[in-house]
């Protein structure tokens, strides 16, 4: 129900043990306050989160899928960027 009065919002949740907010979905709401409440009602019903961000979808600048060759393929051949060529000391722990 995308109307001028209920724009789309993207919802990000930080889970109980997660460090960062993760995108979980989107919803329609008239303003930021209602969007936050709707996010709580839709995306945290099973105890998923401790923090919520809502962002107007219109504020997101997205990459163009038709440009994925230019954007992402150059990285595919540079396997030396993966840290698999190094021995990581145990003391470093989780990276």
């Amino acid at each position: 129900m995308a109307t001028p009065n209920s724009p789309l919002w993207e919802v990000f949740i930080r889970s109980r043990n997660g460090l960062a907010h993760k995108h979980v979905g989107s919803l329609h709401a008239a303003d930021a306050t209602l969007a936050l409440q709707a996010a709580r009602d839709i995306y945290t019903r099973r105890g998923e989160g401790l923090s919520i961000w809502v962002v107007p979808s219109s504020a997101i600048t997205a990459s163009d899928p038709s440009e994925k060759g230019m954007m992402f393929e150059p990285a595919e051949s540079k396997i030396y960027r993966h840290p698999t060529f190094y021995d990581v000391p145990d003391e470093v722990g989780h990276m």
Binding site: M1, L27, H28, L34, Q37, A38, D41, I42, R45
Partner: protein
């Protein structure tokens, strides 16, 4: 209908607990009637969530009432096998959903009260009621926020939403007085520190109601004639219809499970 109604003995603490349980069950059922019918999917979820909060509260309270009564009744029997005259809920919570504005107004009037009430009940000398209160208060705090935001947006929205929410506030106002009434059955519990005197909460209730209605550009209803009777089983015509739906399965197929 083939299943007969149960008999309930109602010493003060049982009666007290059933009254609060019935408030929660009936309002929870009303909200559940919105499932699949709300103006938007987001609000459908919000209404169902609030309904589930209330039905959860009702369960805890019915379980406690059954324990105190000690006559072999249980939560299901209280919910499904009492007739309309045995229900003890406020008239406010049984009022039909009407349009979205009416449902939100009913929720707003009740939740502001219930939030104050259960917050005070956290100090009850009855440990079970105090524990139920601690859970309920958090749930109602959200119901207050959600319904308040909608009152403001509906009242200060379009001419049509303003008109509808003002009519709802005017119509439902006469059912708000019953929340603050104390009868002899509860006076003893209040004196014993088990229950809270609801009359003491009315100034704060009215303050919140007035602030939100003012922000919503709505007029605070002035009529002070109040309808009551729910606490002693004298209900409006709406509760019987609600119960016929809520109870139809257990009345027709006693003990049915799936």
């Amino acid at each position: 209908m083939t299943a007969a109604s149960i008999q309930v003995s109602e010493p003060p603490l049982v009666l007290y607990t059933l009254r609060r349980a019935d408030d929660a069950l009936i309002l929870g059922h009303r909200l559940s009637e919105w499932c699949g019918h709300a103006p938007a999917m987001e609000e459908d979820m919000a209404l169902a969530n609030m309904g589930l909060d209330l039905i959860g509260q009702a369960r805890e309270l019915y379980i406690y009432a059954a324990k105190v009564e000690g006559k072999g009744n249980d939560e299901d029997k209280f919910a499904y096998l009492r007739d309309v005259r045995q229900y003890r809920n406020l008239l406010l919570v049984e009022q039909p959903n009407g349009d979205f504005a009416r449902t939100m107004t009913r929720q707003f009037f009740y939740a502001v009260f219930a939030d104050l009430y259960w917050r005070a009940m956290m100090m009850s000398r009855d440990a079970t009621l105090a524990a139920i209160a601690a859970k309920a208060e958090k749930e109602f705090a959200y119901h207050v926020r959600h319904s308040s935001e909608w009152m403001i947006r509906l009242g200060d929205g379009t001419d049509e939403s303003h008109r509808r929410v003002q009519i709802a506030a005017d119509d439902l106002w006469a059912f708000t007085g019953e929340m603050f009434v104390v009868d002899d059955a509860e006076r003893g519990l209040i004196d014993a520190g088990i229950a809270v005197d609801p009359a003491s909460l009315r100034p704060r209730w009215l303050k919140t109601i007035s602030e939100v209605l003012s922000e919503a550009t709505l007029t605070i209803p002035q009529n002070d004639w109040m309808q009551k009777g729910g606490r002693i089983g004298h209900h409006t015509e709406h509760l019987g219809h609600l119960l016929s739906e809520l109870q139809s399965l257990q009345r027709s197929f006693p003990g049915a499970t799936w």
